[in-house]
Symmetry: C2
């Protein structure tokens, strides 16, 4: 038995997200488990570091899986890339310590959100951005982003119902980079709540449109109420860039 | 009546190429003519600078069209981007001299061919490259490219049957650039014959794989026979980058 750490890229456009759910096989996890179960001759379960939603992409998703096929890392990488659909690729496969767990051992994550800020679309990137036609005030958005950086209770930026789990997270940095007509928001934190990056993005867009002030971010945090924050930006602009480990 | 010069980007994946052909409306030209004919209330014909094949992409295709709708350039751009499918975008619209002709006035063209030189695919670029798993010798390919630069009879690099038209063209430069796992071939010339860029690319790939020598390029040119050159690289790696005018 070996424990493998696999780093994945995928175009999430045609999938119902990462996580296997009931009968639907149309998830990234489902596709990979079906293939690995076939290779091993018995059911295999894989464990992803981040449960990306339907339509969300990844350049550095990580999962771990225990297999008794005896394959080395290179062989497993080759099998994955030969038999997985073209919109999923294994970019790195390593043999890991038997105790390695992709989600529990993760110390940080980096997400990217791409906003196409133009009335003219880009045919090549159209499935990977959210288009905002009105000009965005990037300076205001940067100020707002600074006000969201640090350790806070992000309950206002979380879609799921109140539970007993902590909603405190630390955002190390939110950077905003222009790339031609695109504005790329990069979120680096120790972890993110359900829909948190998309709600942060929606709120920052509203700041960029002048509907909210950069200073109002602290009030939203204080309210601890989802209704205080902005809209949930669409899934297709979001990409899981990297999962960090010590 | 006004004459407009329109610069287009398109993802050619789902089209039968640029040129309207018989009954098939599934061409870029067909989509645009249908829209403009609707706007004008009578049939409109557009004239493209390059007839890209099925599956070929463009970042800087140019067409001209004469319309009597009285629209200014900004209005036409807006209409095009509002009503065309998401995989076609008008990036620039200018009012041109009434004598301007997109193809006859073109003085040069730049094409790009993207080769993905890796056994691991890239889910985000998979529709825009041709994958070559075996390592390519880029230094040999550069030497071969130099031997193809200049003014030559490129009949060996042309798919169409012999005709009375000249097959002499000038290639100003063929550059090879590495971009992570991709090798990008950029062809700059005064014009290109049917399938010429794809046959040049196929031949250069065969050089990169060690099946041909860089020196053999001159022999291929001398033969003036399609069978002397390499394979026609697939359409999806090709993109019309720019059409040049004085």
């Amino acid at each position: 038995m070996k424990n493998y750490k696999v780093t994945l890229m995928y175009d999430g456009s045609r999938y119902d997200g990462w996580q296997k759910q009931g009968n639907t096989e149309n998830t990234i996890q489902g596709k990979i488990e079906t293939l690995l179960s076939r290779l091993q001759g018995e059911p295999v379960e894989i464990f992803g570091a981040g449960r990306t939603d339907a339509g969300v992409h990844a350049r550095g998703q990580v999962f771990h899986v225990k297999l008794n096929t005896g394959m080395n890392a290179g062989e497993l990488k080759q099998k994955l890339n030969r038999y997985l659909p073209e919109d999923i690729a294994a970019v790195r496969v390593e043999e890991a310590d038997m105790r390695f767990h992709s989600r529990l051992n993760a110390t940080g994550k980096i997400y990217e959100y791409r906003i196409h800020n133009s009335a003219t679309g880009n045919p090549f990137l159209r499935k990977y951005y959210y288009q905002v036609e009105e000009p965005l005030n990037v300076a205001s958005m940067r100020l707002a982003a600074e006000n969201l950086t640090g350790t806070w209770d992000f309950q206002s930026f979380c879609s799921s119902k109140r539970s007993k789990k902590s909603t405190v997270r630390t955002i190390y940095e939110i950077s905003l980079t222009k790339e031609e007509a695109d504005l790329i928001l990069t979120f680096h934190g120790n972890g993110f709540l359900y829909n948190m990056v998309r709600i942060l993005t929606g709120t920052l867009i509203e700041v960029g449109l002048g509907k909210r002030s950069p200073e109002s971010m602290r009030e939203i945090l204080d309210r601890k109420d989802r209704a205080a924050a902005g809209f949930t930006a669409p899934a297709q602009g979001l990409c899981l860039l990297e999962v960090e480990y010590d």
